[in-house]
């Protein structure tokens, strides 16, 4: 059931309607157009400018299916949703207040995401008969066909106006039309009273060598701004007040970049070389891309022949004394299963990143899902326990990637970090940390002067074995994938030894619990319902939590990032509430894991598998329903 547009967002649509300024707490804008229309850039610029004036934001790009569909078709529509607020916002927003549709296909594909009565800005020049047909409209009146009569629709002849604005430009027609997205951006800037300077500067810098392009973009931006003002279209006073944000220096970051940087930061804090062996796969490729850019820090990030080579080169690098890392998505994680078992038995530090996407098999490569959890926990032969973490927002990918590396290096174990397409591609403001404020990392090195080094001697506290880098005299040793004798590490088929080693490997992973924080409860610390989530559902749950508590419900929320081991106080957290509901974007993997651990507790579950994140609304509804039952 579609929510109504925020009643506070009252706008003057056309000249005949009354002009009115209104206060908004937060607003959701969705830019959409053909793949070639530059919607991702438009959205990014809007978000960053908003951040500069002090708003919080969360974005979510909605890429077209991976093949570039023919222009003008629904398959080729690219969307970018941004949620801005002067209070913290936690999600890109369920539905949008403003929808920009650069062509009929964009309208067709995105009208479902517009709140009732939303403002819809339409590039009327593209609404030709041919284009309407291409988009799958059956009539020539998409407004009627889509039942949009109650929406506030602005028909702007953006193509023509762009051409008009650039009539003196030296650029050819095609290049001129390429800046039409800036016209749309200009309209939005005016509507939400954003300054244009930052964007203008950016263009001047970026296109310093092609001033004609810089100029075209800038002129069109201004033309859009002026157009909106001229038609006196509408204007909201969107109050600029970064109230709850911590002071500091900020930047915008998406989850994949944050992940890459978190790993790099960990390597720096551990004084170790970072090696990443990966194979491109949507939506994880950007992690590799970001790491390849950091070569000036001595980071070696390599595209190799396949996923197996990705993890194997990383294991080799770890054996040689680097922090080995490999990044992938679900199908790639499956391919890495066998080799990850080698990391388990050789007890080498290794970080495996899985940016989850819709499955099974190739599934929905550009859509998000949380359905690799059980694969991460159990997808290896034999008893091969591994540490599993999950990041919850784009910016905390940085901290969990850092933490994954820290655990791997200090506990001598492979660690899987789960993120997903939603937070991997989504972005939000990130308070830039100082490196010196990050925790130190102490890789579990062997004493280089040890005259009796034994590769499987363990630290009595953590059960981590000691790491001896090739090149160090006197620590020569051999490891491998066969079961090994405790302490010496030589091959052993002794039955009792196998039992001991299985137990020690498990115990080592369990003891990681000593280095992780207790599970936090947000909202009520005890009460009727605990909403449980893990990973990327945090923003939606938190938004729902706020709503529910405003409604006076006694509700708490626990968002898990430490999956294996679970925090020490986990059971206690569950017991503080009458009911526990586990929310997941899969068919209930975390809840089945929890049930296997806490059989005597009752868990309710709410699942969604549509290749989409939750909406806060559906969460609120479900909690309310459970409240009544």
């Amino acid at each position: 059931m579609l929510p109504k547009i925020s009643e506070k967002l009252i706008i003057k649509i056309m000249a005949e309607k009354k002009y009115q300024n209104v206060d908004l707490e937060d607003v959701v804008i969705r830019f959409s157009g053909d793949s070639g229309d530059g919607m991702q850039l438009t959205g990014t610029l809007f978000s960053e400018t908003s951040a500069l004036v002090g708003n919080d934001f969360v974005t979510f790009p909605d890429f077209p299916a991976e093949i570039r569909a023919p222009q003008g078709t629904v398959g080729g529509v690219s969307g970018f949703q941004v949620h801005i607020g002067h209070q913290p916002v936690y999600t890109p927003g369920d539905y949008c207040d403003v929808l920009i549709a650069m062509n009929p296909a964009a309208l067709k594909a995105n009208r479902r995401w517009a709140k009732k009565g939303a403002i819809i800005i339409i590039n009327s020049d593209e609404f030709t008969e041919k284009n309407l047909q291409r988009a799958g409209y059956k009539t020539l009146n998409p407004i009627e066909e889509d039942k949009l009569e109650d929406y506030n629709i602005i028909f702007a002849p953006i193509n023509e106006l762009t051409k008009e604005a650039l009539k003196d430009s030296d650029l050819d027609q095609k290049s001129i039309l390429r800046s039409k997205n800036m016209f749309a951006l200009g309209i939005c800037y005016w509507m939400f009273d954003r300054p244009m300077e930052h964007t203008i500067e950016r263009f001047e810098k970026k296109f310093a060598k092609v001033p004609a392009v810089a100029k075209a973009n800038i002129e069109t931006l201004k033309a859009g701004y002026n157009y909106a003002e001229n038609i006196g279209a509408f204007k909201s006073t969107f109050e600029v007040a970064p109230s709850e944000q911590q002071p500091g220096k900020y930047r915008s970051i998406n989850g994949n970049t944050a992940t890459a940087w978190g790993l790099a930061a960990a390597a720096e804090r551990a004084h170790i070389q970072l090696f990443c062996g990966s194979y491109p796969i949507t939506p994880a490729t950007d992690i590799l891309i970001e790491l390849t850019k950091l070569r000036s820090l001595g980071i070696k990030a390599l595209q190799v022949e396949d996923e197996i080579a990705g993890i194997c080169t990383a294991i080799g690098a770890s054996f040689a004394g680097s922090l080995g890392v490999t990044s992938t998505s679900g199908p790639g994680l499956a391919l890495k299963a066998e080799a990850s078992g080698l990391a388990v038995i050789t007890e080498l530090p290794l970080v495996i990143i899985d940016v989850q996407r819709g499955g099974p098999s190739t599934g929905l490569p550009t859509k998000t899902e949380q359905a690799d959890l059980l694969q991460a926990l159990y997808g290896r032969n034999g008893e091969s326990p591994m540490v599993v973490l999950a990041a919850t927002t784009p910016s905390d990918c940085f901290y969990y990637a850092f933490q994954a590396a820290k655990i791997a290096l200090e506990h001598m174990t492979p660690v899987i970090l789960l993120t997903d397409g939603f937070i991997g591609n989504g972005s939000e403001p990130f308070r830039i940390p100082k490196m010196e404020d990050l925790p130190e990392i102490h890789p579990h090195y062997a004493d280089p002067n040890d005259t009796n080094y034994q590769p499987y001697r363990r630290d009595p506290k953590t059960f981590a074995r000691y790491w001896a880098k090739p090149g160090i005299k006197g620590l020569e040793h051999r490891i491998g994938g066969l079961e090994k004798m405790a302490i010496t590490g030589s091959v052993s088929y002794v039955p009792e030894n196998h039992a001991i080693m299985v137990e020690e490997r498990a115990e080592k992973v369990r003891r990681v619990v000593e280095d992780i924080p207790d599970q936090e409860i947000l909202g009520d610390q005890t009460g009727d319902i605990l909403m449980v989530g893990w990973g990327s559902t945090r923003g939606h749950l938190l938004t729902a939590l706020k709503t529910l508590r405003k409604e006076g419900k006694k509700v708490g929320m626990a968002q898990f990032s430490y999956i294996n081991p679970l925090p020490k106080n986990t059971e206690d957290v569950f017991k503080r509430f009458k009911k526990v509901i586990v929310f997941e974007v899969n068919t209930g993997q975390f809840v089945s894991y929890l049930r296997s651990q806490f059989g005597h507790l009752d868990f309710l579950q709410y699942d969604k598998v549509q290749g989409l994140p939750f909406t806060a609304i559906e969460i609120v509804e479900f909690v309310n329903k459970m409240m009544e039952e």
């Binding site: 002090g54 820090l297 004394g321 051999r478």
Partner: protein
């Protein structure tokens, strides 16, 4: 090149009991490896031996160096990671015909193409030893094994040919029994900058005994083997009177002094020639028409991935303003919240 010897071969032996069958060709290869390491004059701790899984791949346990017995087929990929992480190390990748060419085929061709400074010793016994006798990608067609009760119907790979197809720069071959030649080759391979593949024709006494009898029979082997040395004439035979000449697009075996052939007609081995065609012909020579070629067949200079990586990194480091993570974090657009 003369190297200062730091360790005797015996110092490279680990204390683990060697578990190959008595008579297995692997023993000799292990000996040769110990010798080569000694001759290379590199400190013990700078060596890393990486293997996959197979009888041959047990080698790491018998090395008193850093060593890693990994998983089936992945030795090449794991070695790649080791070497890129630390180019100071001298890495030997020990593998079998199944390990390298069946399950490990993809890493094998990319190992060669990438041309890191790595040294692969491929023990080709034309069978799966460890799993007790199934055919391998190098088993001769028609071979009856446990999984081919009616004989295989597959053409075998010729490892050297595949190396060349993947643009290999260094390929050498030895019989398992010829420890001297192996040692020589291993030393040169380690000193060669780039990926080297050393194929050892290895006898599995249990599951494929006599696979190389034709060419390695004591009585006749001098007539069936030609050991090539760069810059030397391609001659062989008990009496050293046979040689290879070029006959159109084929090699031809001639007897010096017969049919008017003199020593001058005999080809001189040029391992350094970039063009692969003669190397390919030498690699393809097969019993009974030709002697089997041994020694370093091809060793041509090429850019090594590792060297290029280091150069590139050095350049980037010198040029870039980004020196540490604080720089990265603060790069690009930022804003201040007060």
């Amino acid at each position: 090149m003369e190297n200062k010897i730091l360790h005797q071969p015996a110092e490279f032996k680990s204390n683990q009991e060697v578990r190959w069958c008595p008579g297995c060709g692997d023993h000799a290869v292990l000996n040769a490896l110990h010798k080569a390491m000694s001759e290379l004059g590199i400190p013990k701790e700078k060596f890393v031996v990486i293997s996959g899984i197979g009888c041959s791949s047990r080698t790491p346990y018998y090395m008193n160096t850093y060593a890693f017995h990994t998983i089936h087929g992945r030795a090449a990929a794991i070695s790649t990671g080791v070497k890129i992480a630390n180019q100071d190390l001298t890495v030997f990748t020990v593998t079998g015909d199944g390990d390298a060419l069946a399950i490990g085929g993809n890493h094998f061709i990319h190992f060669i193409r990438r041309n890191l400074n790595l040294n692969m010793v491929l023990l080709n016994n034309r069978i799966y030893g460890l799993t007790k006798g199934q055919y391998s990608p190098t088993s001769e067609e028609g071979k009856i094994t446990k999984t081919s009760p009616y004989g295989t119907i597959e053409h075998p790979f010729n490892p050297g040919e595949l190396v060349l197809g993947a643009q290999g720069k260094f390929f050498a071959r030895s019989m398992d029994t010829n420890i001297k030649l192996q040692t020589e080759i291993m030393v040169e391979a380690a000193q060669f900058v780039g990926a080297s593949v050393i194929e050892i024709l290895q006898n599995c006494v249990i599951f494929n005994d006599g696979a190389y009898k034709n060419i390695n029979d004591k009585e006749t082997r001098e007539d069936h083997q030609i050991i090539l040395h760069h810059g030397e004439k391609m001659i062989f035979g008990k009496n050293r009177d046979k040689g290879l000449v070029l006959d159109g697009f084929k090699l031809k075996v001639v007897t010096i002094g017969q049919d008017g052939y003199t020593m001058d007609d005999i080809l001189t081995h040029d391992a350094h020639c970039q063009e692969p065609f003669i190397h390919m012909m030498l690699i393809n020579m097969a019993y009974p028409d030709y002697p089997t070629a041994f020694g370093i067949i091809r060793a041509v200079k090429g850019d090594s991935y590792g060297v290029k990586m280091d150069q590139q990194t050095a350049e980037i480091m010198a040029k870039s303003k980004i020196k540490c993570m604080d720089d990265v974090l603060n790069s690009g657009d930022t804003w201040e919240v007060k």
